[in-house]
Amino acid sequence: MSVRTILRASAVAVLGLWAITAAAQDDAFVFTPQWTAQAQFAGYYVAETLGFYKDAGVNVRIEHPSVTQPAMSRLRKNDCQATTLQLCQALEIIDEGIPLVNILQTSMNNGMVIVSARGKDPLTQKGAKVGIWSVGFGQLAICMSIKDNLDYEWIRFAQNMNLFIAGALDATLAMSYNEYFQLAQAGMDVNDNNVYRFCDHGYNVQEDGVYMTRKYYAKHSDQARRFAEASRRGWEWAAEHPEEALDIVMQYVDREHIATNRVMQRLMLGEILRLQVDRESGQREFRLRPDMVELASSMMVENMMLDREITYKELVP
């Protein structure tokens, strides 16, 4: 199975019917983060809890995905009006013919890493079995594997780091705000010797942003703008009050019965907030950077993940 086929399959599975965007069944604006409750979405929880959405005149309801109803599935069934996506995922979906609009960009840096087993440098493991999320996210890693002639054998996994911990994998992809800390929490020694950070090797492509279909946006641009503003306000408040934001995150975590803990969520929030600061300006800019869109798009075209270049203008409102 080729790389392109794998990615296509996952994208189609996720968004096959997403193009059929219908109006909300009621006046509620349902927002679905792409993962279960965690500090990765702290700004949205803060905005909902502290009434920022209400202040903005948007009746937002946050509904998390489930095993039987992933985030994209909820979108395509019109169960939600907006979701978070990584930039590379958004490019793939647009390439499939489903126009999307980025209404809020939170991430300004890439947080993906490769972690090798103890004492091994990821760049020396040619042909190694490397874990990759079955739901996508790994586009940059695939580009890097091809470009650097590492020829990794990608092993798609559904859930967590157990395969890597059990020794079934030589290395695994991880997010610096999530799995990276999970590995540390599992007693693994993760350090500069066995960790490869994509952002430090010319692959600094933005990740999380809030997307909706262009069709929906065309009809509800004002609502989308107000939602984005309130969400941004939530993130800024979280950056200024991280411990209080963490309290709010833990309420969502407990409500959703997520198997995590405050320590992990504190680490995650800290890293997410760090990734939101642009390296060059040192500011939380909350904007898509055209250069990063161009970098991601050209790399994916070069590695045949996209049929054509997706431009910055196609993403912004």
Partner: protein
Amino acid sequence: MRRIVDYIRRKLSIRVSLWVVLFATLIFIAALSFLFLRARDAVREEAVSRATQILDKTSLQVEGILNRVEVASAMTEWLVKRHPGNPDSMFVYSRGLLENNPDFYNCSIAFEPYYFKNWGRYFSAYSKHAGDGIRTIQGGSDNYQYFYMDWYLMAKLLDRPCWTEPYMDLDVPTNTSEMVSSYCKPVKDDDGNLIGVINTSLSLSWLSQTISAVKPYPNSYSIMIGRGGTYFVHPDPAKITRQTIFTQTIEHPDTALVALGHAMQRGEEGMKQMELEGKDCYVFYKPLGQTGCSMAIVCPESDIFGGFDYLRRAIIMIVIVGLLLMLFFFIRIITRELNPLRRLANEAETIASGKLDAELPDFQRIDEIGQLSHSFSNMQQSLVKYIDELKDTTAQKASIERDLHIASEIQMGMLPKVFPTGGDRDDVQIYASLTPAKDVGGDLFDFHFRDGKLFFCIGDVSGKGIPASLFMAVTRSVFRTVSAREEMPDRIMESLNKTMAEMNETNMFVTLFIGVLDLATGHMRYCNAGHDAPLLVGAGVGTLPCDSNIPVGFMPDWKYSLQEAQIYTGTTIFLFTDGLTEAEDVGHNLFNMQRVTDVATEALASQDQEPRQLIARMTEAVHRFVGDADQSDDLTMMAVQFINNTK
């Protein structure tokens, strides 16, 4: 504090009691420390043995059911490999495994994508207990892509049977979750290619209950962690599946806990002593078969050593109370035993105050205190007797002193008291002084006038005190007697010597200088019997030449030599005894002849050679030299100044 120390210093009973109790305490500390140390080791060994047995027993229980799962999976694999091309059989095998093992949670016989073309991408014969029966369905779908699941991938990638990390299994039809661990066995075709995986799951609720129930001590608890360190059994439900054994060490580094976690992850068996949540604990750990999980029993030290600590506290309390009681009774007993001593002390005070006839108590005891009382009584009697004798002696001494005083007065009365001065005579001036070292002395001087001549003498009897004074009195009397009829000093000396030597039973002697000065001419005849040569203080200061004659009193027939000298007008003849030259200061330095000459020279220079002034100067000089030192010898000086008035 100082008052307490002073009080203790005054109380022998308290001091002795404290010493005894101190030594007893040291002995108790040494003995009990040894006892507690050994007892603690024994308790620890017992705890290790107990925990190890429990761990072994639990491990055996767990391995028993794990083995059943592994055997059942192996049998199913055999069946699958006999009919690999018949998908319907897989449902039967899957269901059959659960029917034969009702305590298993579920079973999947899953195949590689598109292995059965007719079934499409997914084929997983999945069976699970549902109510009283078993539900068997095809479990793969777009929403459950089993070949991305850990249980499938782990067997595939590791290429051997293995147990997965425990996970929450969601049963979609009933929307229920169960914590399970799966035994995954890869199935291969005859060419060795993987065709699928047999997954047999076991609910961990039984395992959790079994492990949670392990409670060797009241406050001990058990934990179970997976390969990733995740808690699957823990007394705090909030930690189960949410935290790993390392979670808290991320923010609060704890090397002991990290070491324990790594040891358990490596599947090691052992025991560690460490602090957990503020309590000192012993942790006993052991892996659970091949599941990758490890269980541990955490036993607080306070539990393991609870009985021991109670016993230790009780013994220490008993010892402390015992020592305090010992101290109390010792003080009481010793105080009672020492009570007679206190009474004796009081009686001694009474006696010391002068009441010598105070009656001493009779303790009727034969021990040391009885002996002391007896000795005290003897001492009192001796003291009374001694005081009486002392009174007599004192009275006798007072009588003697009185007699001596009288003798001194008599002796002084023998010496001339009136000295001729310029007013009395115009040819000679005389002055003399005698200061005895004791009440009475052995020095003498005398002078009288006869026939225009001055007869004078100065002497020093050997020894001091009464014998010397008596010898001196006799010498002076004989001198007066003999010089009353004899003019020549040598004859006076010989006569005196004969008389003294014949009556000298005690072998005493006297040095003596006798001079006869013709007051008309200044011609002086003299005889010296071993006495210090006089000084002549006139035109200058010089010593009168004297022959060597033995002192008076030794040899009755000794012939003493006669010497003569011309004394010029104004010249003072200064005579003295060795009490002057041998006067000592506090450093036992002697006044010596040189100082005598110096004082005489100074007097001459000051025109103070007149007898009274010369002797006053000499007396003042010798007193200044002697200072606070006691007078060691009689001191006698006599000065005779001749004035020729015939010119």
